[in-house]
């Protein structure tokens, strides 16, 4: 066994013996020894970091997660706690522990651009870790802890600069964005050397089990076998995962997942309901006209159907575009007919329902819609009834996001957000969420609900999922249920996102 030692002290000692330098002070000498004794890490096991962070009081599940990652998973793990349980704290604890133990000298944190500042602030303030934002002007040799976004990092010249560094720990936030191995993002992370690595995501499976395979293959290639073997076992039918228990066990070897009600923390209730609605007679007529349009592209048709379930404005915009690109006169005529009928429509029955829910709540409400047009439409509908609202979407700059959040908190009753607005904002002061349009992906529902149902929420949270009966939304509910089923089979329990089992009609 090779033993490393340094000769530095020996040289200094020789200099003193030969009277070339002064001897040091006895008190400082003793203090130096006392300090080393206080800092000593006496055990391979256990966490040192809490001792260094007296002002941080992590929850038991967070400490346990950090310990599990280091001791059972050897520092390569997916942190998949439900939204709002503090994955960032867990990652911070792991990073801090490795820094204290000297096992990590350099770390790279990749987070969505909108969250990088939050990471830097948390690491600095809560963990005293001198993290800085990546900047190509900096010499990375002198920046031990760097935070940036994958979108930035994957591009030249940043990519090359980052690849040149030897990072001991790589942390990737919102790692579900790496589910597709054919993307540049995936490729970038794959080429990165990962001695220790944490992937953070509340939603390791969004659609199918291959996403999890891809994620784990980034972290620990081979853990789930290679693609071929994995495919042969699990591909037979995407939605009926065979050998669930076996797979689940393998996954648990690399994944920590805390769920709310097992944390021992008192959580407020999450009351989730599907609100089945009916089209009005007029709307129903238009919906069937749309469904009969001879559009060759089934995706466009599906979009139109979904938009019709959302607002006439959303449908109008797509129909107008379609009209422009259509040449057959009879189809053009059909579109014109639909457009005409749309203008005659009264307030959309779904928005009527939303309005009713808002009035009944008599409190702050967040509405999530999939369409920018619906966002504008809803604002107008609410405005007409004297209800104040602010808009929110993912394209807003960090400052604007913060400003809109302030406006919502202080001045407006309703926040109308598009899908892309559902990450990275925390709105615990609100207790009502309306999922005005359903997404294809159940995890998006979880992300949305997570904005309000997280640590710091003091009241029960009401979730209303609006779905129009006998429309494409029926099928969406069914598909969502199926995907939730897959998730629960291989990953584990999922908190209520679609319904809490007590289907109610009100």
């Amino acid at each position: 066994m090779r033993i490393e030692r340094s000769t530095e002290w020996k040289e200094g000692f020789t200099e003193r013996l030969e009277n070339r330098k002064e001897w040091d002070n006895w008190t400082l000498y003793q203090m130096c020894y006392d300090m080393e004794r206080a800092k000593v890490i006496p055990e391979f096991h256990g966490l040192q970091s809490p001792k260094h962070l007296p002002n941080l009081t992590p929850y038991a599940h967070q400490l346990e997660a950090a310990e599990t990652v280091i001791e059972r998973m050897n520092g390569k793990a997916i942190l998949a706690d439900e939204v709002g349980l503090g994955k960032t704290i867990e990652a911070g604890l792991v990073l801090k522990e490795y820094l204290i133990r000297g096992l990590v000298k350099k770390a790279l944190i990749l987070a969505p651009a909108s969250l990088t500042n939050q990471w830097i602030a948390e690491l600095n303030q809560k963990f005293h870790i001198p993290a800085i934002a990546y900047n190509k002007k900096y010499n990375l040799d002198h920046c031990p802890i760097v935070v940036t976004s994958i979108d930035m990092a994957k591009r030249s010249p940043h990519k090359e600069m980052i690849y040149q560094q030897e990072y001991d720990l790589v942390i990737i936030d919102e790692a579900h964005k790496l589910k597709n191995p054919k993307t540049k993002n995936y490729e970038f992370v794959q080429q990165l050397k990962k001695k220790f690595c944490l992937l953070l995501t509340a939603t390791p499976i969004q659609n199918d089990v291959f996403e999890l395979f891809n994620l784990i293959s980034l972290l620990k290639p081979g853990h789930l076998g290679n693609l071929e073997t994995f495919q042969s076992v699990f591909s037979a039918s995407k939605h009926h995962v065979e050998e669930d228990e076996f797979l689940k066990e393998l996954i648990q070897q690399v994944m920590v997942r805390n769920i709310r009600h097992e944390t021992g923390i008192e959580w407020t209730n999450r009351l989730v309901q599907i609100m089945p609605l009916d089209f009005t007679e007029q709307e129903r007529v238009i919906y069937s006209m749309i469904s009969k349009l001879p559009v060759s592209d089934s995706f466009t048709l599906l979009t139109l159907q979904r938009e019709m379930c959302s607002s006439q404005l959303a449908a109008v915009l797509t129909l107008e575009k379609l009209h422009q690109t259509t040449v057959q006169p009879e189809v053009r005529f059909q579109i014109e007919e639909i457009l005409l009928k749309l203008t005659e429509l009264d307030i959309h029955s779904k928005s009527k329902k939303a309005l009713e829910l808002i009035q009944k709540a008599d409190d702050k409400v967040i509405i999530f819609t999939e369409y920018r047009a619906t966002q504008a439409y809803l604002q107008a509908v609410l405005h007409a009834k004297g209800i104040t609202s602010v808009l929110f979407n993912g394209k807003f700059s960090k400052n604007k996001r913060e400003w809109m959040k302030q406006l919502f908190q202080n001045n407006a009753q309703v926040l109308i957000a598009t899908e892309s607005g559902s990450e990275g904002i925390n709105l615990q002061f609100c207790h009502h969420v309306i999922n005005y349009d359903l997404p294809w992906n159940p995890m998006k529902l979880e992300q949305r609900i997570g904005r309000v149902h997280r640590l710091g929420q003091t009241e029960d949270v009401h979730i209303y999922n609006l779905a129009i009966q006998q429309s494409v939304e029926d099928k969406m509910v069914e598909l969502l249920e199926r995907k939730i089923g897959v998730f629960e089979k291989v990953v584990g329990e999922l908190d209520h996102i679609l319904t809490d089992g007590k289907r109610s009609i009100s």
Binding site: W23, L28, M31
Partner: protein
């Protein structure tokens, strides 16, 4: 370290470094830094090069450190200090630079009529670090009698209780060492090595096992792949580094001690 110990540490630190305490209570301390200390810990090289080039009156900083957050100190503009805070870490670093080598003589004590003879010792404090994907550290404080070569452990704890001074007191004289300090140092190193060699090293085997397991998993991923991509070599290197076992022996500090009290 508890907050009280930290408070005491800071107090001694600044006292030893000739920084005047302007204001102090059980929960905080305001000190006037000396120019030297300002340069060491305030991280403002531009200011100092400006002062030194321009003949501006140097104005070293005052530092308020809050060691025991309370209602009173909440109103103070100061840095909160606790174990693990960057400022304390920095003071530790400075301490380390300033407390590495000593030469101390035991005082003869009161009513010492006859001449006192002091025996030379070499004292060295070691830190051993075992490291794989986990770490463990141990401290050893060894002393060697430079007259007869006897080695004792717990040296620091023993000399801590003695009354020592940086120069020889009157009416005492010390024996010239038989064993030159550098040779003694080499001997102590051998002692440390023996300690390490006789220790239980199952941790090395365990890390090796983890490594073998992970490498096997990785190889499995690429079985049957004809053109093994570059990422394979990189993954492999990462796993090798992750579980690489090392043992490090560091000297924290050490020095020559001339002692009247016999140590066993």
């Amino acid at each position: 370290m508890r907050q009280q110990e930290i408070h005491q540490y800071i107090q001694r630190f600044f006292h030893e470094n000739k920084c005047r305490v302007l204001d102090e209570s059980y929960d905080h301390m305001t000190v006037q830094l000396t120019i030297d200390m300002d340069k060491r810990i305030m991280n403002r090289p531009y200011y100092w090069s400006y002062v030194e080039s321009g003949g501006v009156e140097p104005n070293p900083a005052k530092l308020t450190l809050i060691t025991n957050p309370s209602q009173f100190s909440a109103s103070l503009a100061g840095e909160r200090i606790h174990f693990g805070s960057p400022r304390l870490h920095q003071l530790f670093q400075v301490t380390k630079e300033q407390g590495a080598f000593v030469q101390m003589y035991e005082k003869p004590g009161q009513n010492q009529a006859t001449q006192v003879t002091l025996t030379p010792w070499l004292g060295v404090n070691y830190k051993i670090t075992y490291s794989s994907d986990r770490t463990k550290e141990m401290l050893y404080s060894l002393g060697m009698n430079l007259m007869n070569g006897a080695v004792i452990d717990g040296f620091q704890e023993s000399v801590r209780k003695l009354d020592l001074a940086p120069s020889v007191s009157a009416n005492t004289y010390y024996l010239p060492y038989n064993i030159p300090p550098m040779r003694a140092l080499n001997r102590l190193e051998e002692v440390m090595e023996n300690v390490v060699n006789q220790d239980d090293h199952t941790w090395v085997d365990e890390a090796k096992q983890r490594q073998v397991r992970d490498l096997r998993v990785l190889d499995y991923f690429y079985t049957g792949v004809e053109d093994v991509p570059e990422s394979y070599a990189m993954e492999k290197k990462a796993i090798e580094e992750q579980y690489e076992t090392t043992i490090r022996i560091e000297i924290i500090n050490g020095g020559l001690f001339y002692l009247k009290t016999p140590l066993v």
